[in-house]
């Protein structure tokens, strides 16, 4: 059963090795002449006065929370979809109840303006 995952494990190791080897090779052959101005963050030629990590819009958090809710509910649908041809009507009715609750929540988020960006 788990044998099928061995090639994937090998692939992950090969991919990490490939990325590190590429970095190492490039660092070995590329020049490095540093000076202070070159190492400054890009800001259209103006010297940055403050740290870039400032506060940012709350909407990003809102989108992230909505994502967690909806994506987990979607993942619940995956096993159901696989055995749907055995469950038939029972599975259909049960999942309609589940989706119904999901849709109510979705409509609530919509009405509350959680899906608005501007």
């Amino acid at each position: 059963m788990l044998d099928a995952y061995v090639p994937i494990l090998i692939f992950i190791l090969v991919a990490i090795g490939f990325a590190i080897a590429l970095l190492w090779f490039a660092w070995a052959v590329s020049p490095s002449k540093f000076n202070r101005v070159k190492l400054e963050p890009y800001e259209c030629g103006i010297e940055p006065l403050t740290d870039a990590r400032d506060r940012y819009s709350i909407r990003y958090y809102l989108v992230a929370m909505l994502f967690v809710i909806f994506d987990i509910e979607t993942v619940f649908l995956y096993p159901w979809a696989v055995i749907m041809d055995e469950l038939l009507l029972f599975g259909l009715v049960e999942m309609m109840v589940f989706l119904g609750i999901l849709i109510v929540g979705y409509a609530y988020a919509w009405r509350k303006g959680a899906l608005e960006w501007a």
Binding site: I8, V29, S30, R36, L39, V63, D71, L77, L99
Partner: protein, 339 residues
């Protein structure tokens, strides 16, 4: 020992070389297509018709100076491109490029691994890359990359919901999560699923454009607003890794679309016996052909459509694609029960 270690290693090596070549020439193809659409010639200098341009690009990226900005978080800054690249490559493990084929006298399936949760694996691994994007933007400690990485992550998670929801209707059709079985189910029905599920394909494709930050959803890389995107501070080889991952992700989207909607390695009209002549062409050639046609559509869309505004992008994702995807799942489920 040979079965469990050597065979996968050889396959991975072939796949890796294939991906790198495909990415290099996809970049050239993109520049050429863009140029032709705008009545230009595109790269012409390096090699005949610019065919050696990718080689020149790779050499340039490797020998360029690789800068770590003074305010950046050194370790995370180096780790980010690796985190982006590794998932983009590893996803290819479960993509079936062809049926069992004779390779030097040995019967061999043309995929690295056939796991029974293949599609779930793709969905989950492919979205890991966003960690690299957001860490890269954060570690740069520069305003534009930080804004771009926030945009990229919000955009990815918004469209991720619609895409994963859409894939449920494909699982309903195939009754399996294994990529090989999804193709075989299309063979059994003699039907490419795109004809049964055109709406699902549309949602998947639009979501794919958004998840790979392609035009018209290329807001995280909007040059006019953000100078370069989350990799503004990156140069040299670490920029090359981001670049490689971005194009590898495009190929993943196209290859998965080929498998789910266009019958993978099957020839066109798999049920029509009169076209049996087409079986002479090996399955993996059909697969690559379909994948590159889809990739061409990616480039075509970029050359045709203007960029969305951020609120329009969010509205399309949350208020159009998600309801459509849910409706599609419900209709498909009812159809499975009734038929």
């Amino acid at each position: 020992m040979i079965e469990t270690l050597v065979v996968p290693l050889v396959k991975i090596a072939v796949l890796l070389v294939g991906i790198l070549t495909a990415v290099a020439y996809l970049v050239l193809l993109e520049r050429k297509v863009q140029a032709w659409v705008q009545v230009r010639l595109g790269p012409m200098r390096v090699g005949p018709h610019g065919l050696l341009q990718p080689v020149a690009d790779v050499i340039k990226l490797i020998i360029k100076e690789d800068i770590t900005p003074a305010r950046a978080d050194r370790w995370v800054y180096t780790l980010a491109p690796i985190i982006v690249l590794v998932p983009a490559l590893v996803v290819f493990a479960v993509i079936p490029f062809g049926p069992e084929t004779n390779v030097f006298g040995i019967r061999m399936p043309l995929h690295v691994a056939d796991i029974n949760v293949g599609l779930l694996y793709i969905v989950s691994i492919a979205s890991l890359g966003i960690y690299g994007t957001i860490l890269g933007g954060w570690a740069s400690n520069s305003k534009y990359p930080l804004l771009a990485s926030l945009r990229a992550s919000a955009q990815l998670v918004s469209y991720e919901v619609a895409v994963t929801m859409t894939l449920v209707s494909m699982i309903l059709m195939a009754g399996s999560l294994s990529m090989v079985e999804i193709v075989e189910s299309q063979q059994a029905r003699g039907l490419w699923f795109v004809f049964a599920q055109p709406l699902a394909f549309f949602i998947y494709f639009v979501g794919g454009l958004a998840e790979t930050n392609r035009a018209p959803f290329d807001l995280p890389e909007a040059e006019q607003e953000l100078t370069g995107g989350f990799h503004t501070e990156y140069s040299g080889i670490r920029f090359a890794l981001f670049f490689l991952a971005e194009y590898a992700n495009m190929i993943v989207i196209a290859a998965v679309a080929t498998t789910l909607f266009f019958g993978g390695w099957l020839r066109p009209f798999p049920s029509v016996a009169a076209l049996g002549l087409l079986d002479i062409v090996p399955g993996w050639i059909w697969f690559l052909l379909k994948t590159f046609v889809l990739l061409y559509v990616f480039l075509w869309v970029r050359a045709t459509l203007p960029r969305y505004r951020y609120d329009q992008l969010m509205r399309l994702g949350w208020k159009v694609l998600i309801p459509l995807a849910i409706a599609n799942v419900i209709v498909t489920a009812i159809a499975v029960v009734v038929l």
